[in-house]
């Protein structure tokens, strides 16, 4: 893709790297669904940060709030959903980097505060290394370097959306317009967001995009029903990448696809990420898939993040009993065959989340404190890694000796044996 200036734009000549400072920071985000039968707290006090070029995985059972979180970030939630608190800080590109979207915004809306995005100062950046730590981000207040997506007016939001923040929806079948050709749907995005572009260059761009995701350009005139499921999903990804976004949110993009096609799409995402250096928030219930794909994984349970770690840390030593259970809900392809138990019980009703740790009714390790005190996400003491867990087992106040992964395994194995009679 080095041949194409407009497309490269941001990352031209710059080697692919994962920056240390955040691109997106979610702070204390709360989302409720207001229902007659009670308020559903779908997302509660969620904190995380996403760096440039990072793939962050969100995993959890259905109803754990992962999709709601994605929609909250893109501000796509409709009533009865309400964002009841928190901040979503987006850090636009640094000074010196040309950014089409910023240019477009500044041109269209001179004098607005978004223009300050262009004048981001480089200083104080160096000190942001700790900013990686999702729970204790360095506070950056009102210096114009970041935008709170939740405070944006609809007009400004429209400029951020798709330019900087694109989303790939779960069902490719329904996300594409059945009466418009693929080409028309791609150029539609360009027509809306790049009014200065001519028809020819729009078409050129559409061809480029299709090539990028591995669809032959002669498919430009095909309608969605003429494409297979995998190709439709690729087309959706092409539309999402049309404006070279900074952040791509993918909500179960491969769930409806077969394994071979799924693998192709994932390889494609990894390849494109390395080429274009965008960040991805990847949502799925399939943890085994996420572990291979994502750099960092956040596990959600009942609307809260209960564990956050790099993929390797999570795979080698999951800390939260729920993470361990989830990880062991997938039969392995290799290794010894053994009886597995899954997680006993079922997810809680979000209208009445159990007090204390929401997982305690299903947790084989639950003790007194779990019923009363809400655990907060904090670094695991003994580790040097950035693994964070919300569990009293790792809190020295309640439990002097944190369990090792093999302790978790033993407890779950005991459950598996018990399950024969369950």
């Amino acid at each position: 893709m080095t041949t194409n200036g407009t497309f490269q734009g941001d990352s031209k000549g710059r080697p692919y790297h994962r920056a240390t400072h955040p691109l997106l920071e979610v702070k204390n985000l709360n989302v409720d669904y207001l229902a007659a039968s009670g308020t559903v707290h779908a997302v509660t006090d969620v904190n995380f940060s996403l760096r440039r070029g990072e793939i962050l995985g969100l995993a959890g059972e259905s109803g754990s709030g992962k999709s709601t979180l994605a929609y909250a970030i893109t501000r796509l939630l409709r009533p009865p959903a309400m964002i009841t608190g928190g901040e979503i800080r987006y850090y636009p590109r640094e000074k010196g980097e040309t950014l089409l979207s910023v240019d477009a915004i500044s041109k269209d809306s001179p004098g607005e505060d978004l223009i300050t995005m262009g004048a981001i100062q480089e200083d104080a950046r160096g000190g942001d290394a700790e900013g990686e730590d999702a729970n204790n981000p360095v506070p950056i207040e009102g210096n114009g370097r970041s935008i709170d997506l939740l405070q944006l007016s609809p007009a400004k939001l429209r400029k951020i959306r798709w330019n900087d923040l694109a989303i790939v929806f779960q069902s490719a079948m329904n996300a594409l317009n059945p009466v418009m050709s693929i080409g028309a749907q791609i150029t539609d995005v360009l027509r809306a967001h790049r009014p200065s572009m001519g028809a020819d260059s729009r078409k050129q761009r559409a061809i480029e995009l299709l090539k990028l995701v591995g669809i032959a350009p002669d498919r430009l005139r095909s309608y969605p029903h003429e494409l297979s499921g995998g190709m439709r999903q690729r087309a959706i990804i092409a539309i999402a990448l049309a404006l070279s976004p900074e952040i791509l949110i993918m909500d179960e993009p491969t769930t409806a696809l077969d394994v071979v096609v799924q693998r192709e799409i994932l390889t494609e995402i990894i390849r494109l990420r390395e080429k274009l250096n965008f960040a991805v928030i990847f949502i799925t219930h399939d943890l085994s898939l996420l572990l291979e794909l994502a750099d960092n994984v956040a596990i959600m349970y009942a609307g809260r993040i209960v564990e956050q770690a790099s993929n390797r840390d999570l795979y080698l030593h999951p800390r939260h009993p729920y993470s361990y259970g989830l990880l062991n809900s997938f039969p392995a392809l290799r290794g010894p065959l053994r009886r597995m138990s899954g997680i006993p019980g079922s997810p809680p009703d979000l209208r009445s989340v159990p007090p204390g740790c929401a997982f305690h009714p299903r947790c084989p390790f639950a003790f007194d404190a779990c019923h009363k005190v809400l655990p907060v996400l904090q670094p695991v003491q003994s580790e040097d890694s950035s693994q964070m867990v919300a569990c009293h087992l790792y809190n020295p106040t309640y439990n002097a000796e944190p369990p090792t992964t093999s302790d978790l395994a033993k407890k779950y194995e005991a459950l598996a044996e018990g399950s024969a009679t369950r």
């Binding site: 059972e61 077969d258 394994v259 192709e264 085994s288 390797r312 809900s329 392809l333 065959l337």
Partner: protein, 364 residues
């Protein structure tokens, strides 16, 4: 098409019990109705050649992508579709499913569990109704008291307790996992010998899947059921079933003991399937977290005009001229393993008489 070898029985020593349900060379075409009466007759070739044997107390997994015909095989075995050609034998006798009385007698022994528990239960009836019907129809319960007794014991067997509460619930009051348990209880109510499970866990939430799988494993052992387990997830097949059959575009391409098929896949399609499956063990320290490259790309071809010969040949990295011309005969690889692939021979075992996976490895 049917120049395949007729031997279904193989030399697998672990097979002790005689097969209870056998299918030979099942073929199913779904005719397409075109508006032009003079036009050429076309059909979807859903299942081209499927042979399998189910044995009491053993689970056989049928693995394939969507469109591979695995659900059609289950429906053929359940008597929901009539095969275009091929035969089904139950306890060594040809299963005659021609009229409803015979079909009913057959279904006393062979039951199907459907994929989607959200649509396989009638929303206007409660759990009691769903379970009482088969009990009454097959004469297991003669009166209300027996009926209630048996329903309660069924619910307890599928771990729906307290059973007294669940008996009067309606489907919308149950979670996905609970509904699937009701479906399983319904299948068990006729006291079948064969259970055909069509993706019983794929619609369920991840944490519930293992519960249902373990429940089915326990029932299989307790009741000595022969289970056909249909899945698209090869890791689940390995967990659940002793034997694995791999299907591609209506053709069975490989089979044998599950673990062996996964550890040393022979057919190029099986290799593709396994390399595409998510496998976090690649993250372990000795493996460096590198994602394997796919040996082939693409999707299942159109089944209206399927590729000639071996249907995998357009995607196969090892395709030869002969693959385009005809479908290979079944080659025994020893230890109950077999495959239909010219790389390993054509009917008779390859020269070494054992699995020679290096044929493919050299090619890479």
């Amino acid at each position: 098409m049917n120049d395949l070898n007729m031997t279904i029985e193989n030399s697998h020593t672990e097979y002790v019990a005689a097969p209870i349900l056998e299918a030979q060379h099942l073929r199913k075409l779904f005719p397409l109705h075109s508006m032009n009466p003079l036009g050429q007759k076309t059909a979807v070739h859903a299942v081209e050649d499927a042979s399998l044997a189910l044995r009491p107390g053993r689970a056989t997994a049928l693995v394939g992508e969507s469109g591979s015909g695995k659900t059609t095989v289950a429906r053929l075995l359940a008597g929901l579709y009539t095969p275009t050609s091929g035969s089904i034998q139950f306890r060594g006798e040809p299963a005659r499913l021609s009229n409803s009385r015979r079909l009913r007698a057959y279904r006393r022994h062979v039951q199907l569990i459907l994929q989607d528990p959200f649509s396989s239960l009638n929303p206007v009836h409660d759990v009691r109704y769903h379970l009482a019907r088969p009990l009454r129809i097959y004469g297991h319960a003669r009166n209300k008291r027996q009926e209630t007794e048996q329903i309660l014991s069924l619910l307890n067997r599928v771990n729906l307790s307290p059973a007294e509460q669940f008996i009067s619930k309606f489907p919308h009051q149950l979670s996905g996992g609970q509904r699937q348990r009701v479906s399983i209880a319904r299948a068990l109510s006729v006291q079948p010998e064969v259970l055909l499970a069509d993706e019983p866990v794929s619609m369920l939430d991840v944490s519930i899947r293992l519960d249902i799988l373990n429940l089915m494993l326990r029932l299989k052992d307790e009741e000595h059921l022969a289970v056909l387990f249909i899945t698209h997830d090869i890791a689940t097949a390995r967990y659940f079933a002793e034997d694995t059959l791999v299907m591609y575009a209506g053709q069975m391409v490989e089979g044998g003991p599950g673990d062996k098929v996964i550890q040393e896949p022979a057919h190029p399609y099986t290799r593709l399937l396994i390399s595409a499956a998510p496998d976090p063990t690649r993250l372990s320290p000795e493996n460096n977290g590198k994602i394997a490259d796919l040996p082939a790309r693409g999707e299942i071809p159109s089944l209206i005009t399927p590729p000639t010969g071996c249907r995998f040949h357009p995607r196969c990295p090892h395709a030869m001229e002969v693959c385009r011309q005809r479908f290979p005969r079944r080659t025994e690889l020893g230890n109950g393993r077999w495959t239909n692939c010219f790389l390993y021979g054509d009917g008779e075992a390859s020269s070494e008489g054992k699995l020679s996976t290096n044929i493919i490895d050299q090619d890479r």
